[in-house]
């Protein structure tokens, strides 16, 4: 097993979280993994990453990588929980940094807003879509849509 010595060697506990987005950064992260994963697994334990493993509780994280936009009350609850339970929170990708493209609705005209109004109410959307940076304190960021792979490696390796 890859993770068998996790406690002894104090591997960094890493979580990857997706708010409202296309999950392109997670997907691209699995491409960055192609060359990097086996080396990183010596130093990290992937605790949360719904794309590749079953859900595990959000607890005692060293690094949380968060992609997506905070567009609903549920997103807000999740990001606040992640913030409380991680030492380092990294905003990953354009969505997390700028709130776009979900935040396009913040600039919709009257006609466009009328089309989406009922949906916003029914599914408890926030009045405005927020970037992760606007919703909670972040410690670092990796720009790009999807994330720039070199920048990801540079930022991630600072913390592991």
């Amino acid at each position: 097993m890859f993770n068998i010595f996790s406690d002894k060697n104090k591997k960094k506990r890493v979580g990857v979280f997706s708010l409202t987005c296309d999950e392109g950064c997670s997907i691209y992260l699995t491409e960055i993994f192609n060359k990097k994963l086996l080396g990183w697994l010596e130093k990290i334990e992937i605790v949360n990453f719904l794309a590749i493993k079953d859900f595990v509780e959000i607890k005692n994280l060293d690094i949380a990588l968060v992609e997506g936009v905070v567009t609903s009350e549920k997103d807000k609850k999740l990001i606040e929980e992640v913030r409380k339970n991680t030492k380092v929170l990294v905003a990953m990708g354009t969505c997390a940094i700028t709130a776009l493209p979900s935040g396009q609705r913040n600039n919709f005209n009257k006609d466009q807003l009328a089309q989406i109004k009922d949906h916003l109410k029914k599914y408890k959307f926030l009045p405005k879509a927020l970037s992760v940076k606007e919703a909670v304190k972040t410690d670092d960021e990796i720009p790009g849509c999807p994330i720039d792979p070199k920048k990801f490696v540079e930022v991630f390796e600072k913390y592991i």
């Binding site: 097993m1 409202t20 392109g24 997907i27 590749i52 493993k53 936009v69 949906h119 599914y123």
Partner: protein, 431 residues
């Protein structure tokens, strides 16, 4: 039969693209209701594209889906081109095929190695594979990297590919890199043979009579052809919408579809069932044993079908790269700036349909039909049947809930659903 009442809920299905919850209501030993609730929040692309330039919209809709962004990009570009009378060059069509192949290689590999393999070995994650199976992770990473590198060469990137545009590709191919890409693609062929062998011997079986629908392309390139069904219908791309009907799914930010009033299935299994004779000759030669399985009604054969499609994508890509002299070309230009048009491609998970209306170069509306949305009604019926089958086997009530959860998750994963995509549905009131 066991006469029990049971509510089974799975919160946050894992190892699929996007977020979904599932509730199953069992009364008197029979499934009363199945609710697959797609928990992705809408991002209002349908509204956001209104008024945007035709040239910008393909890159915008690419952001609907991370993993199959290339399919959205390509399908939307085709719709723009059909609308504005743009005729792409023969080389552009070849480059698009290569781009689609790069997508199929890495997207199917992600699904098969990282989402399905854990079920095959009874593990939480592919990262937990035991030492004697660890080689599979190395192979997975090599296969994905080969697809990724092909995307980089042709389209600039595997996710939200920057070079693919209306009328052509913005970048010239770096010919110096081609031999290394060919070598890498050939090097992963044995891994795909191993992978197909695993799914060929996989004992999982679930059958329920349904209709399969796919765009049948003459060279299995996922781009241009006629829509075929297992009931024998042949439909032009532009007429696809006439046969689809939207179905509202309660409590879900997505809707489902029926074809001619009945549930149907799209994706790799449908493509293999309807069009296996169009696969590349090298794939047919080396995978003859696996191809005999099709046509098949076993939903789990979608996994084997995906492995075969990876092989075809490798083989046809290699042939194209070995025989094409790529030249610098200017993009084809629109002959008009208003109209309506339809683009249909086969995305990894099935037929993807774009219908655009453009006025003076600005998009008036976009209507898209996503593969996962087309599969949702069929999936719901399959979940009902598999749970009823488990109930009929008269299991101990204590083990029942666990078994239902396990089997249902496995079945849903075989569909390779994409919840990010599925939340983008059309609204008929535009018409």
């Amino acid at each position: 039969m066991h006469t029990c009442d049971l509510d089974v809920s799975i919160n946050k299905l894992s190892k699929i693209e996007g977020h979904a919850d599932l509730d199953i209501k069992i009364r008197d030993g029979k499934v009363e209701n199945v609710d697959l609730r797609i928990m992705e929040n809408l991002r209002f692309f349908n509204e956001a594209v209104q008024g945007q330039s035709y040239a910008a919209v393909p890159q915008l809709v690419s952001r609907i889906c991370g993993t199959c962004s290339i399919a959205h990009l390509t399908g939307c570009i085709e719709a723009v081109e059909k609308t504005l009378d743009v005729t792409p060059s023969a080389q552009t069509m070849i480059l698009r095929k290569l781009t689609m192949y790069s997508l199929m290689i890495r997207d199917h590999a992600l699904h098969l190695y990282f989402f399905v393999l854990p079920d095959l070995f009874g593990l939480d994650s592919a990262l937990d594979l035991p030492d004697d199976k660890k080689e599979l992770i190395h192979e997975a990473l090599h296969v994905k990297e080969a697809g990724n590198n092909l995307s980089n060469l042709i389209a600039g990137r595997a996710v939200h590919a920057p070079f693919e545009q209306v009328g052509g590709f913005s970048n010239e191919i770096d010919k110096k890199k081609i031999p290394a890409i060919i070598k890498e693609l050939k090097s992963i062929r044995p891994f795909i043979m191993n992978l197909a062998e695993l799914f060929y011997h996989c004992p999982w079986e679930f059958k329920r009579k349904t209709n399969f629908v796919a765009l049948a392309t003459p060279d299995f390139s996922y781009l241009e052809g006629k829509i075929k069904t297992s009931t024998g219908e042949v439909i032009e791309e532009k007429d696809y919408w006439d046969h689809l009907h939207s179905v509202i799914l309660p409590y879900s930010q997505a809707s489902g579809f029926e074809f001619e009033g009945k549930e149907f299935m799209v994706g790799a299994l449908a493509r293999l069932n309807l069009n296996k004779e169009s696969l590349h000759q090298n794939t047919k030669r080396d995978m003859e044993k696996f191809l005999k399985v099709f046509p098949s009604e076993n939903v789990y054969h979608n996994n084997l079908a995906q492995a075969i499609e990876i092989m075809h994508s490798i083989d046809h890509a290699v042939e194209i790269l070995e025989t094409t002299d790529f030249k610098k070309e200017a993009p084809a230009k629109p002959k008009k700036f208003s109209g309506e048009g339809v683009g249909v491609v086969e995305a990894p998970r099935g037929t993807l349909y774009y219908w655009l209306g453009i006025d003076n170069g600005k998009v008036r509306y976009a209507n898209l039909v996503i593969p996962t949305a087309q599969n949702l009604v069929n999936l719901r019926e399959d979940v009902k049947k598999i749970v009823n089958d488990i109930l009929a086997a008269n299991k101990d009530a204590v083990v029942l809930e666990g078994e239902i959860k396990k089997e249902v998750e496995k079945l849903i994963r075989a569909y390779d659903p994409c919840m990010s995509c599925a939340t983008h549905f059309l609204r008929v009131n535009w018409l």
